[in-house]
């Protein structure tokens, strides 16, 4: 199908197969997470079953992108019954087909069970995980087949681009994005409309739209899920941006590690080109736009826009000083607008529903929704999208289901290696760009790592610093040498060789690196240390004054004397008789943790 004008698109949409054309739709998650648990095989078997039973006309199996409920994967959702099955295995398919699809009886044993509740949840909309979510950027993820352009079009895909080209001038498009209040979802929160208008103002014979898909924050995977689950929305938004700023070429810079996402994007670009939705004279207008993919090669710093541009040009990904900003001198020295994947994913929805609709969601200065990736010590691992202004408590407890074993959650690390920790005293704070900055953290790309009472905050800070000093590109001194020295101090501390003076040294060094580094990586690298030092000073002091307990011990009240720990101990430092409480000779303990893993009743106390 080739689309030459708006009525072509409308006619195509009418011909696209809709979900209501089928009696039943079986949605099977095919995101990276679920694929690792054989979801690809599950899809194949489903399709075969439907074929063998001659059900293909009534039932459609759709391989979708991520549902977000990754911790419970693979996920299968049956529509219109609105039933979600979790942790489905290949051998369960037969039963789902026979019981649910043919006899309309729900397979109860595969339903999700809420923590601390007896009843199983039959309706997906009744699951706490989804109740408080509002999906704009993830609107199509888990709903459509990302490799089928018709699935996107039937959900109003490319209608935003059509509307823009038919009804608005580029200035009006920028005005809409400005009024929507959309801010960059990749970290800094720079107003998207402003970035576009700065790039538009530049006079140049060529300009570029760049999609930053170098999602490098450990613990964040929303961009990957959007590209895997709804790649056309990114392409459509990039074309809209191209029209707005006056560019005819778009480039997606994507991590080489994201194989599935790259493959699906490539397919989407090909399909869109073939349909004329990308290419020359889109919708019969004067506007032409092309999109290409540029692969990264594993360097965290390339998420920084100037480094990203250097890397796209085939150089080492070293950042440049700003100004000049990429909006003036960007890719090939031409004005370029660099926006993040999630930011782009919001654009078509804003165009179709209006700026006012978007700006009515969220807080005063942060509009719309934000996707967060929940990971760490939390029951419901996965992706959640909530309105700005939702509290940490709602996300962690209502949506995330709290700690898997019901332990106390001590802190949330947000913003990855550039961010900081939020302690439990602040869990009722409304989340937006500004409230996080005031806490010494930052939105970053929205990775939330949940830490329980057993987490050692000094070790966590050291982990992040190890990451940043490893990823420092080495161009500027504060970041290259400063992070290394900070890491050495931390290492000294955790090895019980530090001194109380080290804490002050660490703080001053951290402040200096923040103030003097060239790019965002260095300017935020000390954040995890400074923020944990502020809120968990006692943990640092325990190391600095060398009072930290480093060996394991046994809670005599809980111990049932099963002897499992003493049998697992590699240095034989656990003694005790059967059915009597055991004890650990702490002078011999090497803190390997073998006893902790072996204990069936949680009686081992970790250092």
């Amino acid at each position: 199908m080739r689309v030459n004008n708006y009525s072509d698109l409308l006619a195509w949409k009418k011909r696209c197969p809709r979900k209501i054309d089928y009696q039943i739709n079986v949605l099977i998650c095919n995101g990276t997470s679920c694929m690792s648990s054989d979801s690809e095989l599950i899809i194949k078997i489903f399709e075969k079953e439907l074929k063998n039973r001659n059900l293909e006309a009534e039932i459609r199996a759709i391989k979708t992108g991520c549902f977000g409920f990754c911790g419970q994967g693979p996920i299968i959702k049956i529509e219109p019954d609105d039933v979600t099955y979790v942790q489905v295995k290949v051998e369960d398919i037969q039963e789902i087909v026979e019981s649910h699809l043919i006899n309309h009886e729900v397979v109860v044993r595969l339903l999700y069970q809420e923590p601390n509740q007896k009843d199983l949840v039959e309706k997906s909309s009744g699951m706490n995980f989804y109740k408080k979510q509002m999906r704009i950027a993830l609107r199509n993820c888990g709903e459509i087949d990302p490799e089928n352009i018709e699935d996107y079009i039937v959900n109003d895909g490319y209608f935003a681009l059509a509307k823009v080209l038919q009804e608005y001038t580029p200035e009006q498009v920028i005005d809409i994005v400005n009024k929507s209040g959309l801010r960059g979802r990749g970290g800094g929160g720079f107003p998207t409309g402003l970035k576009w208008s700065l790039t538009r103002k530049q006079k140049a014979n060529e300009k570029y739209v760049i999609c930053n898909a170098d999602e490098g924050d450990p613990g964040a995977f929303m961009d990957r899920s959007i590209m895997e689950g709804d790649p056309h929305s990114i392409l459509e938004a990039m074309a809209i941006a191209g029209y707005a700023i006056g560019a005819s070429e778009g480039l997606v810079y994507i991590r080489a590690e994201y194989g599935v996402a790259t493959r699906r994007l490539k397919k989407a670009i090909e399909d869109a080109k073939q349909s004329g939705l990308i290419g020359k004279n889109i919708f019969g207008s004067d506007f032409s736009f092309n999109i290409e993919i540029k692969l990264g090669a594993g360097a965290f710093v390339c998420g920084e826009e100037t480094a990203l541009i250097r890397s796209m040009e085939g150089f080492r990904g070293e950042p440049d000083k700003k100004p000049p900003f990429p909006s003036e001198h960007g890719f090939r020295d031409k004005p370029s607008s660099v926006n993040n994947v999630e930011t782009f994913a919001n654009i078509p929805a804003i165009i179709l529903n209006g700026a006012q609709w978007f700006s009515s969601i969220g807080t005063e200065r942060s509009k719309g929704t934000k996707v967060f990736a929940l990971a760490g010590q939390i029951r419901n691992n996965g992706l959640v999208e909530v309105p700005m202004g939702t509290t940490f408590r709602e996300i962690v407890y209502d949506i995330g289901g709290g700690h898997p074993q019901g332990k106390e959650i001590k802190a949330i690390q947000i913003g990855g290696p550039s961010g900081g920790v939020i302690t439990k005293d602040f869990f009722d704070m409304k989340i937006d760009y500004d409230s996080l900055i005031s806490m010494g953290a930052m939105m970053g790309s929205g990775g939330m790592i949940i830490m329980d009472e057993d987490s050692d905050m000094v070790q966590i800070a050291k982990f992040y610093l190890d990451f940043t000093q490893d990823e420092s590109c080495g161009k500027c001194t504060p970041c290259r040498i400063g992070t290394k020295r900070m890491y050495e101090i931390l290492e000294r501390l955790v090895n019980m060789q530090g001194t109380p003076e080290d804490l002050e040294r660490l703080r001053i060094l951290g402040e200096n690196i923040k103030n003097t580094s060239l790019c965002g990586l260095g300017q935020t690298a000390p954040n995890p240390v400074l923020s944990t030092m502020k809120y968990f000073r006692e943990e640092y002091e325990a190391y600095a004054y060398r009072t930290k307990k480093t060996t394991y011990s046994i809670d005599a009240k809980k111990c049932i004397g099963c002897t499992k720990c003493s049998r697992s101990c590699p240095v034989s430092c656990i003694e005790g008789t059967v059915r009597q409480p055991h004890y650990i000779d702490e002078s011999k303990c090497i803190a390997c943790g073998a006893c902790y893993d072996a204990c069936p009743v949680d009686a081992i106390i970790r250092p």
């Binding site: 990276t32 994967g73 995977f221 990957r224 540029k294 090669a297 990971a375």
Partner: protein, 171 residues
């Protein structure tokens, strides 16, 4: 030493032809495509020995230093040969707080080598990698393209044994 780097006779001729064809197919400024060319070269040859880097440099009319600078900057490129199976243990935060370090040390113990080395049988290379974005499955490791989620140190034994048995069977 220099002679050795210049010597491309050790490189497979057919693979070089494929690389040439890829470079020929590139549109626009070829030098800008250096990273893509290196990806292709590594895919063909498995790794990027110095004579191959120089070959790429000559083909794109760049200095050898420039190419080597790029190769050593990005962690995705290997200058040393890698095993048939690359075991990547994710060291992202989510995996770290769920004990990825223990998984890594078990992998190293079982394969009997250090990180980034190639095992004696030529089968394995072990790497710790940046977050691969499968945090819902933490801790995660991948072997080539296959993702293993919620890996416990004791699961590693079975996984490694599985790959060794595939090899033995094919022999």
């Amino acid at each position: 030493m220099i002679k050795k780097i210049l010597d491309t006779s050790t490189l497979d001729k057919d693979l070089l032809k494929q690389l040439d064809a890829y470079i020929m197919s590139l549109e626009g400024d070829k030098q800008e495509h250096l990273i893509h060319v290196l990806h292709k070269a590594q895919k063909l040859f498995g790794y990027l020995p110095q004579n191959l880097q120089l070959y790429v440099a000559r083909a794109l009319n760049l200095s050898g230093a420039r190419v080597n600078g790029v190769v050593t900057f990005y962690s995705f490129f290997n200058e040393k040969p890698v095993g048939k199976y690359t075991i990547s243990v994710c060291m992202g935060t989510a995996c770290f707080v769920k004990g990825a370090d223990k998984v890594l040390s078990r992998v190293l113990e079982l394969t009997g080598m250090n990180k980034n080395e190639i095992s004696k049988d030529g089968l394995f290379t072990v790497k710790d990698v940046r977050c691969i974005g499968a945090c819902g499955l933490a801790p995660v490791m991948t072997i080539n393209d296959k993702v293993y989620g919620k890996v416990k140190p004791k699961d590693v034994d079975d996984i490694i044994r599985h790959y060794r048995s595939i090899e033995n069977e094919s022999k």
